[in-house]
């Protein structure tokens, strides 16, 4: 059964400069006990999607559905939602210092979290808090439970946040860049912790990140977001080895470490678009090396591509063109060239960074 089902989620923010179209029709499903990775650059809408699901986007205009075990979170009254949030769904944010209250002891904050959702005595809740801190690897939890957040290191704060998020054994854990502010060694500790908790408690995890390495490590399924939309969705291996969308392809090409040392990287040209003025047609067309005439006019929907079940991509290129090698790129280029006249041809010129056929 699907633990979470998001249908056609749209989120806009009215601002003085115009309407910010943060999320533009995102749909996905997530099975219980699985990990979903959502990747994308700043402003792709990945965080807003998650915050909207749990009702944390104030002042936003929201439409669509977010079904958590059949209940629509977006249609819930705020009191009911508050009960679900914290007890059944919890969230870990990027910056643990601003998510912990500086005036209250860490243990007290966890106790508060437990007692808000469960009928337990203060003493039992405190014991549980100590146990949770031990679980997430805080040394001497009996003593540290009475520390203030500033007495914790960055890694310890993040672990305390996780302890708090796990206080009520949530069914769904949403982690928004949980390790971005941390060193790699601490990041490894945190990811290890999340994985073992999932194994033990069957927690469903959504991991929002810009780090493709983290996704390659832990996600079962990955969604790539761009300009407020899901542009590609696939299982982890398919995405990393047989991606279809030129944006996904570009992201992988931008990563150092795959090619040799000092080899030139293949960055994506240009910058992500403004969410107030989203380009016509496919929002990626101003940066895409495979731009075609059609891309300027029509925004592609998510279509089945490749050979794997559930692999979808929002791109007008032929569905069988998946993967990263030069031959496939050359075929992409040829396919695009066939559809190009006038403007698309001008746009594609000089953008051949990722796409130059071997000629």
């Amino acid at each position: 059964m699907n633990r979470l089902e998001v249908k056609d989620l749209t989120v806009t923010f009215p601002t003085a400069d115009g309407l910010v179209q943060a999320v533009r029709g995102v749909s996905f499903e997530l099975e219980a006990g699985k990990t979903l990775g959502i990747v994308g650059e700043s402003g792709s809408g990945k965080s807003v999607t998650m915050q909207t699901i749990i009702g944390l986007t104030r002042g936003a205009r929201v439409s669509g559905q977010a079904l958590f075990e059949g209940q629509d979170l977006l249609a819930m009254k705020s009191d009911d939602l508050r009960h679900v949030r914290g007890a059944e769904i919890s969230m870990i944010f990027q910056d643990p210092l601003s998510s912990l209250h500086p005036y209250y002891r860490v243990g007290w904050q966890i106790v508060e979290m437990i007692r808000a959702h469960q009928e337990v005595s203060a003493r039992a809740a405190r014991l549980r808090a100590v146990e949770l801190l031990r679980l997430v690897g805080i040394p001497q939890p009996e003593r540290r439970v009475d520390d203030f957040p500033h007495q914790f290191s960055g890694g310890m704060r993040q672990r305390a946040m996780i302890a708090m998020a796990l206080a009520n054994n949530p069914k769904l854990l949403i982690a928004d860049e949980p390790t971005t502010a941390l060193d790699v060694t601490v990041q490894a500790q945190i990811i290890d912790l999340m994985q073992s908790l999932q194994k033990e408690l069957g927690t469903t995890i959504i991991m929002v990140t810009h780090d493709l390495g983290v996704v390659a490590d832990i996600a079962d399924k990955v969604i790539v977001m761009y300009a407020g939309r899901a542009v590609e969705e696939a299982d982890r291996r398919t995405l990393f080895y047989r991606a279809h969308h030129p944006y996904t392809r570009g992201l992988m090409g931008s990563l150092p470490g795959k090619g040799g040392t000092r080899e030139r990287l293949n960055p994506i040209a240009g910058q992500p678009p403004s969410l107030i003025r989203i380009p016509s047609g496919c929002p990626f067309h101003p940066r895409c090396p495979f731009v075609m005439d059609r891309c300027l006019r029509e925004e592609p929907p998510l279509l089945d591509v490749g050979t794997e079940e559930g692999h979808q991509s929002a791109c007008w290129l032929p569905p069988d063109l998946v993967g990263f090698d030069r031959q496939v790129d050359a075929r992409r280029w040829t396919a695009a060239e066939a559809d190009r006249t006038g403007r698309a041809r001008v746009l594609a010129k000089g953008r051949a960074l990722t796409a130059e056929p071997a000629s």
Partner: protein
């Protein structure tokens, strides 16, 4: 230029641009009415290094290991507590501000935060022109031409000379920072986390730019980053720092093929690899605990409280940075019990007197190598 030094041979004096010898930087901690000194943060605690002309030296380590402080000591943005820095054959470690000023042309920095390091109220042309103004190099139309030429070199549109920083994106702002650093044709550029604040696609653009500029102008880089895949991509050699000290220095290929220090092993194994197959195969070394406080660093080897290989000797004697058996002359590590190729850092060894630790450490060199991929430089 990069390979002017044959591997295994000691570098000639003429090849060395910067020589750092036993540099220390302590920050006093003062409290109370009289601002009495109650302790010292040992931010950099006895670092010796050589940076050769035309190379890129990467410095990696966790938050608080002293890598940025070391960089600022080399650039003489800080006064040194002890030790010497020789830049281009000249001892700059004790120079006054005034006498340092003409030499600053030779050493420039690029910072992490492209927004914080640009004055929002000034136009980009004048920001990039600052170095010319400060050093009284050119003025008027002449300066404008030079600034526009710089903008072109770093991939900015010279017509945007009169725009404000806010009108540029993050990647473009970092290009402004690069242009400013480049203005005086420095010999050494110290880049402190130059791409950490940028999205991957933009990060790749800046990395390419830095590589191109190095080739074009024969620059020497010190490249500081916590992202090891970035450091690996740009560096010729890498120095690994832990708690104010250098624990290992080697060429990139050596370091990844045979990391000797247990900390290096742990660090390399912790980097997430954007490749599912490799990610599944490898074993991460999960270090227990946090980095100790640099106010009271542990005795002996500073890594011993977290080290899976630590023995009693490690708590007493600080290991020197030296060439280990079978290693190349340029590969040095500071460890009494260096990791052998193929060795598993075993789970069973809990290290020294750490009641709270649950050692969860296992790795093999095959795993690390498989994860990162053996790499030979061209």
């Amino acid at each position: 230029m990069i390979h002017a030094v044959a591997p295994g041979s000691a570098p000639q004096d003429s090849d060395v641009l910067v020589r750092v010898d036993d540099v220390r930087k302590y920050f006093p901690i003062r409290t109370g009415l009289l601002r009495r000194e109650v302790g010292r943060v040992h931010a950099v605690d006895g670092v010796s290094l050589e940076i050769r002309k035309g190379e890129t030296l990467g410095i990696v380590g966790e938050t608080g290991c002293g890598k940025s402080t070391l960089a600022r000591c080399i650039a003489r943005l800080y006064d040194l507590t002890a030790g010497t820095v020789v830049f281009d054959g000249r001892d700059i470690s004790r120079l006054s501000r005034r006498r340092m000023r003409p030499l600053r042309k030779g050493i420039q920095m690029i910072f992490q935060d492209p927004i914080g390091s640009l004055n929002p109220r000034r136009r980009v042309g004048s920001i990039i022109g600052d170095p010319f103004a400060i050093h009284g190099i050119s003025r008027g139309e002449d300066r404008k031409h030079q600034v526009q030429e710089l903008m072109r070199v770093v991939g900015l549109n010279p017509e945007h000379y009169n725009r404000f920083p806010a009108e540029f994106s993050g990647g473009q702002r970092q290009r402004i920072g690069v242009a400013r650093a480049l203005a005086l044709r420095p010999k050494l550029i110290i880049a402190d986390e130059p791409v950490s604040a940028l999205d991957v696609s933009i990060q790749a653009q800046i990395l390419n730019l830095l590589t191109d500029l190095q080739d074009e102008f024969g620059l020497t880089y010190i490249f500081i980053a916590h992202d090891l895949s970035v450091v690996r991509h740009v560096s010729d050699r890498i120095a690994v720092m832990y708690l104010g000290k250098i624990v290992e220095v080697a060429s990139v290929s050596e370091l990844y093929a045979r990391p000797r220090h247990p900390y290096t092993n742990a660090l390399l194994s912790a980097v997430p690899v954007p490749d599912p197959d490799q990610a599944d195969q490898r074993e991460r070394i999960i270090l227990v605990g946090d980095v100790p406080s640099p106010i009271n660093p542990p005795s002996g080897c500073r890594f011993h409280p977290r080290c899976p290989k630590a023995q009693n000797l490690c708590t007493e004697v600080d290991p020197p940075l030296e060439v280990k058996k079978d290693d190349r002359a340029e590969h040095v590590a500071a460890c009494h019990f260096p990791v052998e190729v193929g060795e598993k850092l075993s789970r069973a060894r809990a290290g020294i007197a750490q009641p709270e630790r649950q050692a969860a450490v296992e790795v093999s060199h095959e795993a690390v190598e498989g994860a990162i991929g053996p790499k030979e430089k061209t």
